[in-house]
Symmetry: C2
């Protein structure tokens, strides 16, 4: 029988992973309204921006401003995170007051080359520089294509385990397995999560699952069953991976929260307040969302 915990932690990635996939520039004050709304709804951890070069992703040109606000909002009940692609990004994030960053390396060499123009080895060398030169930053490793790669195909345990092992030796604090293109199925999620948890039993693992093939929540369930309690998701389901053909749609935070609450698993999030922010996203950023709860009636008494 399926096992699940009393409580989980949701890491909101909409303002980073979602917004970066939107071509039209979103005004900084609109971004800030969404972020503030998400925090007010009770989300306790959020990737608010990405310190990539604005030429690569112009949407993130206001990273410093957004990061500074998140650093100010940080406290006992909220952690603001930023994605950083390299040492330059890490330094900038730190200067803005960010103390926890996400660093992405793909399990698949081909995807890492396509996504960030580095071999896995080069990415690990850059990670070493970050950890050495900005030691005050806590670094989370996002293992992209942890369940399959659109370019290289199958991704096996060894590709994932070897990457995690190297990153832990260098000094990351936690790890997130990312189903970048939404190809994972529940059996695979369960087995891979068990493999890494057994192998690195003192490390905190999260899951970042896409809903491309409708399995976002089913895979979440499999992750819960494997003992994972940290899940990354995006408001409205915004996002995907711009360099992975066919990849569309993070799992929507509101869909996750609705399922968790139904099952009696607490998230600390007020779903009604969160859904009001989803409506703001529809009005101000993108009307058509891949998440479900924006369109489903509420039946509070059921």
């Amino acid at each position: 029988m399926l096992a699940f915990p009393k409580q989980v932690q949701i890491v909101e990635v909409g303002p980073r992973d979602g917004f970066q996939n939107i071509k039209t520039f979103i005004e900084t004050k609109v971004k800030q309204q969404v972020i503030d709304g998400i925090i007010a709804a009770g989300v306790q951890a959020m990737e608010v921006t990405s310190f990539v070069h604005p030429k690569a992703i112009p949407q993130m040109v206001d990273a410093a401003q957004i990061a500074k606000a998140a650093a100010q909002a940080a406290g006992d009940t909220f952690r603001g995170l930023a994605l950083i692609p390299n040492l330059t990004g890490a330094k900038k994030a730190y200067e803005c007051g960010i103390r926890e960053v996400t660093y992405v390396i793909s399990a698949s060499e081909q995807h890492n080359l396509a996504n960030i123009n580095r071999t896995r080895e080069q990415s690990l060398e850059d990670l070493q520089k970050i950890v050495t030169q900005v030691p005050e930053l806590a670094v989370r490793l996002d293992v992209a294509t942890a369940f399959g790669c659109p370019l290289g195909g199958k991704v096996d345990d060894e590709m994932v385990v070897s990457l995690i092992e190297s990153a832990l030796q260098i000094g990351v604090q936690s790890v997130v397995l990312c189903d970048t293109i939404g190809v994972a199925h529940p059996k695979q999620v369960y087995e891979r999560a068990r493999t890494v948890k057994n192998r690195f039993s003192d490390v905190s693992f999260g899951l970042h699952l896409h809903d491309t093939r409708g399995m976002g929540l089913a895979n979440t369930l499999a992750g819960l069953d494997a003992g994972i309690t940290i899940f990354e998701s995006s408001i409205g389901g915004l996002g995907g991976c711009p360099f992975a053909p066919g990849a569309a749609g993070n799992t929507a935070t509101e869909d996750l929260v609705n399922m968790f609450h139904g099952m009696g698993i607490s998230t600390g999030i007020d779903l009604e307040r969160y859904l009001a922010v989803v409506q703001m996203v529809r009005e101000k950023i993108q009307d058509v969302l891949t998440g479900h709860m924006a369109y489903a009636r509420q039946y509070d008494d059921i």
Copy 2:
């Protein structure tokens, strides 16, 4: 740990539950092409039409023609089913050669009144007439709103169990629990499925799960874990319940099949051939589907 079987049976309901929700009349020959395509892809059981009054659902005016073709196609590897709302429908279905029908009663009295203008008791009386007067028909009971009702709210075990008990005494052969409005969550699906299976251990149970809140596949997983191996789904995710506000989208057969095959659970269905029929549905019936696989790239080597 999650348990799952080696094999499941999918009951396709698109030509009935899907088509009946489409307002524009679909030419009979197009319906037949879709049905033939679904059979050719390996689907072994399908609700092909509904013997409702054409005034209630004009889309089903060609029920007799479709049913006769399905009766001719029936054999060792295919069963053609029809939905019947009453004795008149049962007689018509039988005359067309149909030998297995679906009869719907809602667990919720309010929904039964809104959906078919009968109390549960009246529906059971009609069932008695059907079983008595057309004894050659095998009858499946679809328990609508088995997990929650948009009108009456909470649906508890007793409402479901009492309905099943009455219907079994009258003489139905099997039972399908239907999440008519997509409010069920995995814990509820698991528990309710276990309850009815334990209570009626010699009865075959299926699940009909909607994806309204994105939980279609997660609930499927919970059903598998509870020992259910019969799942109803609809091509492209077509359908819903026209009398349940906010209800949109069956779980798409192709999404289910993709997940099952990924997990090593066989369905007898050739997914590639089935997806070709999904494309035909997009071209000839409805371009925008709620199912996911129509839009997701295939990564055969993953």
